[in-house]
């Protein structure tokens, strides 16, 4: 599983971090997403899918 983020789309809602804190973080100043692990292990798959679905800006792409 590979995760791709689009910083330009991100609105800083932080929903991804609430869904998968091992994979996503935020910059403090503007809340823009920080990708901690672009190749998360499979056991985080459901969390990462959930994060992608919950992102209001659709800034997360999951490639399997």
């Amino acid at each position: 599983m590979k995760v791709i983020i689009d910083e330009n789309k991100c609105v800083g809602a932080g929903q991804c971090v609430l869904a998968a804190a091992d994979v996503f973080d935020q910059r403090d100043e503007d809340g823009i997403v920080v990708l901690l692990n672009p190749l998360p292990p499979d056991d985080l798959g459901a969390q990462v899918e959930d994060a992608a679905l919950r992102c209001p800006a659709l800034a997360i792409e999951v490639v399997k």
Binding site: V11, G12, A13, G14, Q15, V17, L18, D25, Q26, R27, D28, E29, D30, G31, E49, L53, R54, P56, A57, L58
Partner: protein, 390 residues
Amino acid sequence: MDHIVLVGASAAGLTAADALRLEGFTGTLTMVGEELCPPYDRPPLSKHVLAGTLEPHKTTLRQDADLQRLRMDLKLGRRATHLDPAARTVTLADGDRLDFDGLIIATGLRPRRLPFGRDLAGVHVLRTLDEALTLRAQLLAGPRVVVIGAGFLGTEIAATTRSLGLDVTLVGIEPTPLAGQLGTQVGGLVADMHQENGVRLCMGRSVTDLLGAGGRVSAVVLDDDTLLPADVVVVAIGSVPAVDWLADSGLPLGDGVLCDSTCQVAPGIYAAGDVANWPHPLTGERTRLEQRTNATQQALTAARNLLAGPGGAKPYAPIPFGWTDQYDAKIQFHGWCPADARIEYVDGDPQARKFVALYHAGGRVVGALGWNSARTLRAYHGRLAAPIAA
């Protein structure tokens, strides 16, 4: 379940479609949308689209290929006009009738309008992409703008239009902007920010009339007889749930579509997003959230519950989350921010416009707000206790 119909083609409807397919629904999926364009996102409309910094097509929520992967019969520019829950049919304005086993209602909101001045040119509301583009075209002439309504939409429009260099007045019935949403203490900081940026504020005032000249708006009249000259007026005084098409359906309606705690309205019929009103399990109170993140979260729950059936349905108990971007401020909040809550600043400094505030009510933390503190705010998410019913 063989045929699911989604009425409403915005964020909630689209997320429901996504979720149904992800959960393994292989039957026929039909989506009905009143607007002509494919599903798009609304939060950028009052900000980047109005400012002209985001091309309109970039608000599209799914590219064509992704929409095709959902294997959906997408009926755009078609309005649902009637629902028969017993016969399990949705009727469209052109007379077409759609049968369904499962239905998700996600028809969102319609802007409230003033009872006067509707026929005057230059008076706008902003809910759709078309309305945002029409308003933007008007702004290019450099008009004097009056924004009526100081909630999230009104304050964002004021910030955006002022950032375009226009003469802007913001009128609101509350003592401060966002008073009803974030309380007057944080609202006061919002007021300061707008004034420093050159927006004229008329707070604690209501609008009694709109004057016109030659068919075009010329001024806004306030309840203290103040006359605000205006070339463009934006009315942002809230919205009403788009339930007119359900009036004769027999479904329970009130402030929106009245669901149970699992978002079910009637057997096989669910609602999600701005239009859905449900008893929040944490508060016991009927709740309707006009938040972009709620459109997604509630649609996920409604879709999963529809497939799971009543026996497997889970209650919908989100901690609300919202945000607004104005000038250089990114304001975000978790939970509830009641106007009468006690505010505790726990991080940063309000005067420096970088802080986290907690909202205390009934001896608990019920809300957390961050101003340019997105990451720090999240750490306080866990401090939110389940609010008790009032």
